[in-house]
Amino acid sequence: MNFVQTFRVAVRALFRNKLRSFLTALGIIIGVAAVIAMVAIGQGAKSQVEATYEAMGTNLLIVMPGSSNSGGARGGFGSQPTLTFDDLKAIQTQVPSVRAAAPVLRASAQIQSEDQNWTTSVQGTTPEYLEVRNWGIQAGVPLTQSDVDSASKNAVLGSTVAQQLFGSGQAVGQLVRIKGVPFQVVGVLTSKGQSNFGQDYDDVVLVPDTTYRQRIEPGLGNFLSGTIYVEAISGDATARAQKQIENLLRDRHRIPEGEADDFNIRNLAEMASARQQSTDTMTALLAAVAFVSLVVGGIGIMNIMLVSVTERTREIGVRMALGATPGQILLQFLSESLTLSVVGGILGIALGVLVGHFVAVKFQWPLLIQPEVAVVAVAFSAVVGVVFGLYPAWKASRLDPIEALRFE
């Protein structure tokens, strides 16, 4: 009796009790569906978190100047310019874990086109900024080093600003006025969408930092009245870069041991990984729930198989009298529980994909079904079927044919 025949016999036996077989498989169906949906939801949430931090910039550190303290009222980070452009240069050149660093000088200002105006965040920066923020250009060209060197009156618009001023028309090449100063639009940034906190990344105008200091908001000489955006060479290097920058700045600012920093470094990669950890915890919890429900499903199978063995004692006796070996009887019942659990597993995948799809649509994140998860889920339910089917099948195979034939 080969495997195909054994399975055909098993499937027929299961079909005789359709409702009961279905209810028994339901435990596995729900368990596997939970696994598939859980992984899909976990991956979807993860990819969404990743996407928002990706938009911010990968491996990003933000160095902010320290707080002011006038008459005991402390101003908070950034209230006092303690960073200098020499600090920036030092970060760019002396810290090995830093790939790029850019100053960001920020002011809210009105920008005017010929027939529209819009108040937005005007940022004075350098070409490295786009690299640090992982940001591209959708039209025109980005700012260049020569723009910075010559303090040119070139501006790059965020897509929201371009939309507000020029609608669907061509922005590149147009003349705009920022605080009354004429600027030429040389490029439009690609859209980054919203930050985690609802801030529109695209509501921005970038100008060279040199021009910014001369025309928009006169600076304090060599002091950098803004923040420094730093990109570490890799995700692993962000913590190292943070430490190195901290040491460098403490050294440069001559802060004695034990005194507080006069600057502050924010590690966005760390925030991202904290978010990631909470999703991972969630995933692990759901995985535990799914595991438990699969085990419960397995117990259901075992229960029904035990009932089935008792019910069919006489049939087992007949089969033995006709020459079925104990091994063949064992295999028959084992393949019944295996069929239950594997078919349950396959139905569970379908249900899980359905649930995952529903959730993905609801929360607007990509539906990520990993085929290997489906394979593992079915394999695991097969293992459940074998493990929990083994005892009933063994019981059936050990029956005494005479007793079994006499069973009423």
Binding site: E315, L322, P326
Partner: protein
């Protein structure tokens, strides 16, 4: 040449809790090939136990049992299963067909366990059913067949693996007298093909169709008589009722 079935001083003891029950107290018996033997006795006489041992469903506590030249009393479960499959065929009082399974598939079962290929299984099962006169009811389920037809399916199932011995345990116990004679006619016809039939019954008029009657009492053979068999003549029976 040794007899097909050779029992030597078979003892079977059951443990019922603390009490030992001796179902067989030393039975010696030999049955030659092609014989038609009836075993009679009251319930508790040991005839069922003897049948189980001859049928390799049970092993004797003591004694030697040689079946077709092979000592089988010490064999393991798998080897006994193989002997039941190839050498023996069973017919039961309550037919013991698998419910919701067609006649053809019921008859295929022994071939399935004997590892016969699917195509050949079908052919041989069909032949066996035609042999017992049920060639037109291959796809009927047991619930769609009369008692006599069910028993004929069971006989076809017992025959399909071309066994040396057919063991029939009260095969007519659940049948009316007319279908009983039909069943006995089939069993009688097997002897002509060299198939040995061992029949257990408590009805003397059924035993009369055999050629040798062994009477058991208290776990021992009381009498062992050879006699000319009564011919199972279906035509001589009173008016036939319509077959369902």
């Amino acid at each position: 040449m040794p007899a097909l079935i050779e029992l030597q001083d078979i003892v079977k003891t059951y443990e019922m809790g603390d009490v030992q029950v001796q179902a067989l107290r030393g039975v010696s018996l030999s049955v030659e090939e092609g014989a038609f033997v009836a075993i009679m006795g009251a319930s508790g006489s040991g005839k069922s136990t003897l049948m189980n041992i001859v049928g390799c469903l049970d092993r004797p506590t003591k004694g030697r049992y040689t079946l077709a030249g092979r000592e089988v009393s010490k064999l393991g479960r798998n080897e006994l299963a193989a002997i039941r499959n190839h050498t023996l065929g069973f017919v039961f009082q309550s037919f013991n067909l698998l419910a919701r399974t067609s006649a053809l598939e019921n008859v295929e079962l022994p071939l399935l366990y004997g590892g016969v290929h699917a195509k050949e299984r079908k052919v041989r099962a069909r032949e066996a059913l035609e042999r017992v006169g049920l060639g037109s009811r291959l796809d009927h389920h047991p619930s769609q067949l009369s008692g006599g037809q069910q028993q004929r399916v069971a006989i076809a199932r017992a025959l399909v693996n071309r066994p040396r011995v057919i063991l029939a345990d009260e095969p007519t116990g659940a049948l009316d007298s007319r279908t009983s004679v039909e069943v006995m006619a089939i069993l009688q016809s097997l002897g002509a093909e060299g198939i040995t039939v061992v029949l257990v019954t408590h009805e003397p008029d059924i035993a009369a169709y055999s050629a040798r009657t062994i009477v058991m009492r208290d776990g021992l053979v009381r009498s062992d008589e050879r006699h000319p068999p009564l011919k199972a003549d279906v035509a001589a029976l009173p008016a036939q009722e319509a077959q369902p």
